[in-house]
């Protein structure tokens, strides 16, 4: 009998139409926890990281954590792991809603989708019954349409993860959409799903998750419940204003990247912030499975050219489609956000790519003729139009759909790409947050805010306050309480947003009674480190080197204006300290003894030669 875990991994081969079930290796689960860790470990056993991302050999792995679906606070997360189509790094995109728990209720810890179908198909998983069915009826439909159709074709309570037209058309910014509006967005995981011609996965589970010690588990859940509902960030501002409650805070700090990172203060931020969203377009807040925070915004623009309804925009979306493009009209931002959802594409990459195109246009590198219309910063109508074209891969959108790295390269201005390892940065300026600068540069999936959001320390003082501009000890901070910790949290199935209120201790207090396995604080530190190192090795084997751990040149220039004018990302001296702390050599490769310590030495020969 398995506790916490369900004990089964489902493998579906779309080339041969085969479905097999494998037992979960509990020893592996103990080492890699679940979710992000376990799915990454499974991926490393499946492929050599050198393969082409958009090939049938690249599997798509949906993973859940041992806490996913247990009903402890905020246990809704599932992850999607593969070699990333956008970046070529390891991808791990995660999402909440109700889809992740449903995987568990149907009896699976992870789904491994391999091969490639010749025709559009969807997967219908009903407890232990698994069918591969034709999706000719669904191809071309938006996620909302797909979900309602599939709930008619399968079961009214099926939970659906699917791709939108963006994924079908292999946009490298495509994500996987579940519960209508939620995206496992980044790294282009939706493009791989589209390449596999897998339109959707419909799941219906009538089983449950066993708990090793229900009484202790309930006690720990109530304890965590009290901590989260007593927390001013999670249960206060996130509930009242969503994640976009950060907009005004970050902007007032002068750390809100604007107009493709040309500046760090947006004069109209207040118009697109969380308070404005709540005031102007919010219909209702809602929650993912078992989540007290309820940061989801159900919003509606009731009339006018930007009429629409959906969820969001959340913080990163209102930034990328707003400030980053210089757009201050909330309704236009909301509309662009709805459209991204309809096409199933990542809002951050979409906004950033359009911002990059705007800069190319304004500097004359890109002509009106090529785009079809003038695309200037601040032109909201043009921005919305560009989103639509991107989703449809129509006209110039065909070029936008592959992200800003490829766009900037194509038009001879690679310096306009604002990201790392082909992934666009998010809404915390690395010129101001020195922790974020180091984190963006070294993150395993490219510039990303959820691989180690040091803003918690640099703004909220969680776990302790470190002024943004201070550099001392940031290497250690980035490594341990943020990067490694995030790797662990993402592996448990709990949402990262709980981390404002709780630490590993509370999570381990849930993991142990849920699984019956001795999860504890000390081991969680090693588990996080192990997962991070495994991902790093994947990237090294895929061809990445220390030279890729670098920020775009622009952010090393002083910030031109705003409250923190003059500040800039100071990275160079600190990367080596970071490598040393990680137990890596100066090339950024883990040493043999480090790998031995983490029990990872069996993997490809990518570790350091000198020890």
């Amino acid at each position: 009998m398995y506790y916490g875990y369900t004990g089964t991994i489902l493998r579906v081969n779309l080339t041969h139409g085969e479905v097999t079930k494998e037992a979960l290796d509990l020893k592996m689960a103990e080492e890699f926890v679940g979710g992000r860790g376990l799915a990454s470990r499974l991926l490393c056993a499946e492929i050599d990281p050198e393969i082409e991302a958009m090939s049938p050999e690249n599997p798509l792995i949906f993973g859940t954590g041992p806490l996913t679906g247990t009903g402890a606070p905020a246990t809704a997360r599932y992850v999607v792991v593969c070699k990333a189509p956008l970046t070529g790094t390891i991808a791990c995109s995660n999402s909440g809603g109700f889809f992740g728990p449903e995987i568990k209720f149907a009896g699976y810890d992870a789904l491994i989708i391999e091969g490639e179908s010749p025709e559009p198909v969807y997967l219908w998983i009903q407890d232990d019954r698994v069918e591969i069915r034709s999706a000719s009826l669904l191809w071309g439909k938006t996620p909302v349409e797909t979900e309602s159709t599939l709930q008619k074709l399968t079961h009214p309570a099926s939970k659906i993860a699917c791709i939108g037209p963006g994924g079908e058309k292999l946009s490298l910014m495509a994500g996987i959409v579940n519960d209508n509006y939620r995206l496992a967005a980044r790294s282009g995981v939706g493009a791989l799903m589209g390449k596999k011609k897998l339109k959707a996965i419909a799941i219906r589970g009538t089983g449950g998750v066993n708990l090793a010690d229900p009484e202790q588990f309930w006690k720990a859940s109530m304890d965590m419940h009290a901590k989260i509902t007593g927390d001013p960030v999670s249960f206060g501002s996130f509930r009242a204003y969503g994640t976009a409650s950060l907009v005004n805070l970050i902007n007032e700090m002068g750390a809100y990247p604007t107009r493709n990172f040309q500046s760090d203060t947006f004069e109209d931020a207040v118009k697109t912030g969380g308070e404005a969203i709540t005031e102007d377009i919010l219909e209702r807040n809602r929650a993912c499975f078992a989540c007290p925070i309820s940061c989801t915004r159900v919003t509606e623009v009731k009339e006018g050219p930007y009429k629409g309804r959906g969820e969001g925009p959340e913080y990163e979306s209102t930034w990328s489609l707003g400030a980053l493009c210089g757009v201050s009209n909330l309704e236009a931002v909301a509309k662009a956000n709805y459209l991204c959802g309809d096409y199933g594409i990542d809002t951050i990459s979409t906004g950033a790519t359009i911002a990059c195109a705007m800069e190319l246009f304004e500097t004359g590198a890109l002509s009106e003729k090529e785009i079809g219309f003038p695309l200037r910063f601040g032109d909201e109508a043009a921005m919305v139009r560009a989103v639509e074209m991107t989703g449809k891969r129509e006209g110039f959108g065909d070029i936008l759909a592959d992200g800003s790295y490829r766009l900037a390269e194509r038009y001879g201005h690679p310096e306009f790409f604002m990201g790392v390892k082909k992934l666009e940065m998010s809404a915390y300026s690395p010129r101001v947050f020195q922790g974020m600068a180091l984190q963006y540069a070294t993150s395993n999936r490219g510039a990303c805010h959820v691989r180690g959001n040091t803003v918690a320390a640099e703004l909220y003082g969680i776990p302790r306050y470190m002024p943004p501009e201070v550099l001392e000890q940031k290497e250690e901070m980035v490594r341990r309480p943020f990067q490694n910790s995030t790797a662990f949290v993402d592996s448990t199935g709990i949402c990262l947003f709980t981390k404002f209120a709780i630490t590993h201790r509370e999570i381990c207090a849930l993991l142990a009674p849920a699984t019956g396995i001795d999860f504890n604080f000390d081991r969680s530190i090693v588990q996080g480190d192990r997962i991070w190192n495994l991902e790093r090795m994947f990237n090294l084997r895929a061809g990445f080197t220390a030279a890729d751990d670098k920020l775009p040149a622009r952010v090393s220039e002083p910030s031109p204006d705003g409250p923190r004018a003059g500040s800039r990302a100071i990275l160079q001296n600190h990367i080596q300290t970071y490598y040393q702390l990680r137990g890596w050599d100066e090339e950024g490769r883990p040493t043999r003894s480090k790998l031995k310590e983490l029990n990872l030495e069996d993997f490809w020969n990518v570790c350091s030669e000198h020890d």
């Binding site: 402890a72 000719s136 219906r204 589970g205 708990l211 109530m222 809602r286 078992a290």
Partner: protein, 574 residues
């Protein structure tokens, strides 16, 4: 062009089954009837229908009428002088997936409580009665032996011909352009060629009735549900009954000449009358029936057509006067063929006597008053967001911060000390997180699951969520329904389940107005809220105080009952 002027006692608009049966009954009573039809007789929903004549799988309020109507069918062929190919061979609703098993069994219990002979059959019993089915994909079925099927064309033309024999006048291919009232209390119906004056007008024009009603200034909650039908070449007799499926997206029967008449597909709701067919939908229905019926692989299709189901929010027709002159009979939701004979008889009685027949009481249009925003749920039933007072005023806008969901209402419970502490639900605060379900499940089942729960969150729309459970009502309908002494009143004064007496007959489930009782497979008994012995886990775990444990009075209880009973269909499990 000169308008031809005519006079009649009654004008019937619509030459479908309801129009024709009503014309037949009225003219038989000696009334001067004029029937106006836009195209031809039976060219709308009637002629496109599946031919099923059933009483089972109806909503409770419609069952008595359906039973009365089915009783007329055996004599119809003789009465009309035409063989309508009626066979009273039974109706199956096949269950194909485990999830539909319990809901179907509960539904069988509900129908039985209305005196209908309907039973639950396991797969072997189904196969014995219908050997043409493939067992592999069937888990069982509800079966009503008195149901059957007939040929819709023969039936409607039989009524039409008899009506003409009794003197009904007819205008075919004539579209009604206006319905007006004269000063002396009469109605005038105009087509492009005729102007007809009459005492009464009956609108029985299927989905087209919507437009006619709009012409006299009324907007009804009517939608067209599109499905697609087809018929194969004749086969030797393999199926005698009428078949449907639990998911409602397929029906089939074998006609007397041997063709398999089947249809379904995605039930799409539309605001227009649309009879197109699509390859995808047809393929889907073909794939579906092939999973259920043996050896259809090489059979050719002869003909395909699009079907129409003019439907209302609650799955029942509207039979009511719109003003002094105009009587509406539409929205049969695909049940018109079966109800036609009895509805025609009652409408005739209503027109001639001026008295609303008691049997038609449940079909008044004012039952939709207050259904502000109607919305289809995936199960095909309508859910409605509550009327203004429930969702829009309470709590919202009253709190200082300006964000209603951030501050739960403050309860002053000091005056209510004499009252029992019970669970109180405030949907204004609910975020749909389902933490109450988890808490309940861990508390009672020692694990987390989403089936067999004592409390469930309903999702009527994307911004309205509602926990549904036993509200410990004073009427205790469940106790009344239980015949095995499996429910008792415990020390706390609420109904609780006596596990050893419960045999899992589920009679209590449909009796509960708020969906408070659930059957649990693993236990083979029902479960319900017992307030966790006075310290409910759900209220403790609810992060937003959408569920609180406090003294509640009748008014709150009544309010909760109204809300919950309206949203039962939006629960994940039923």
């Amino acid at each position: 062009m000169i308008m031809k002027k005519l006079k009649a006692d009654v004008i019937i608009i619509g030459g479908g089954i309801v129009g024709c049966t009503t014309a037949y009954n009225l003219s038989q009573r000696g009334a001067d009837v004029l029937l106006i039809e836009k195209n031809g007789i039976g060219s709308g929903a009637t002629g496109r229908s599946g031919g099923g004549i059933r009483q089972s799988a109806r909503v409770s309020n419609e069952i008595p009428l359906a039973m009365e109507s089915v009783a007329l069918f055996p004599g119809l062929s003789a009465e009309l002088g035409i063989d309508i190919e009626y066979t009273q061979s039974g109706n199956f609703r096949l269950v194909e997936m485990p999830d539909h098993l319990r809901p179907m069994q509960v539904d069988v219990a509900r129908q039985q409580s209305h005196g209908l002979d309907v039973r639950w059959l396991g797969v072997t019993d189904v196969l014995e009665l219908a050997p043409g089915l493939r067992w592999q994909n069937i888990m069982g079925a509800s079966y009503c032996p008195d149901d059957g099927h007939c040929d819709p064309f023969r039936m409607v033309s039989g009524f039409f011909r008899k009506a003409k024999e009794f003197g009904t006048k007819v205008l075919l291919n004539s579209e009604v352009q206006s319905i007006e009232q004269t000063d002396d209390g009469k109605a005038v119906v105009k087509t492009s060629t005729h102007s007809v004056q009459a005492e009464k007008v009956i609108i029985a024009a299927g989905f087209g009735s919507q437009e006619l009603c709009q012409k006299i200034g009324l907007d009804l909650p009517l939608q067209n549900v599109r499905y697609e039908s087809m018929v194969t070449e004749p086969l030797p007799p393999i199926l005698s009954q009428m078949f449907g499926v639990a998911s409602s997206d397929l029906f089939f029967r074998q006609t007397q000449n041997g063709g398999i008449h089947f249809g379904g597909g995605l039930l799409e709701e539309e605001d227009e009358e649309d009879t197109k067919t699509t390859r995808d939908n047809l393929n889907m229905a073909v794939a579906h029936i092939s999973r259920l019926v043996k050896d259809l692989g090489k059979t050719n299709l002869l003909r395909t057509w699009g079907g129409l189901d003019p439907s209302t929010p609650d799955g029942m027709p509207i039979l009511d006067y719109l003003n002094e002159n105009v009587l509406l009979a539409t929205g049969f939701c695909g049940h018109g063929l079966a109800l036609g004979p009895i509805v025609g008889r009652y409408l005739a009685e209503w027109i001639s006597s001026g008295q609303l027949p008691e049997a038609l009481e449940p079909f008044k249009r004012n039952r939709f008053d207050g259904w502000l925003q109607t919305k289809w749920t995936p199960s095909g039933a309508f859910a409605a967001v509550l009327a203004t007072e429930d969702t829009q005023t309470s709590g919202r806008g009253t709190v200082g911060s300006g964000i209603p969901f951030m501050t739960p209402p403050e309860y002053d419970d000091s005056e209510d000390e004499g009252l029992h502490k019970l669970l109180s639900v405030n949907p204004e605060m609910c975020t749909g997180c389902r933490m109450c379900e988890s808490a309940c499940s861990i508390e009672h089942e020692k694990m987390v699951r989403q089936t067999g729960l004592r409390i469930q969150v309903a999702y009527p729309s994307d911004d309205f969520f509602l926990p549904i459970m036993c509200i410990h009502c004073e009427e205790m309908h469940c106790m009344e329904a239980c015949v095995y002494d499996a429910l008792e009143i415990n020390d706390y004064g609420i109904v609780s389940v006596v596990d050893e007496n419960c045999i899992g007959c589920m009679l209590c489930i449909p009796a509960c107005p708020t969906g408070g009782i659930t059957y649990v497979d693993s236990k083979e008994t029902v479960v319900k809220c017992n307030l966790c012995g006075g310290n409910p886990a759900c209220a403790k775990y609810c992060p937003t105080q959408a569920i609180t444990f406090r003294p509640i009075d009748d008014e709150i209880r009544e309010k909760m009952e109204t809300v919950m009973s309206k949203h039962l269909d939006s629960r994940i499990e039923k």
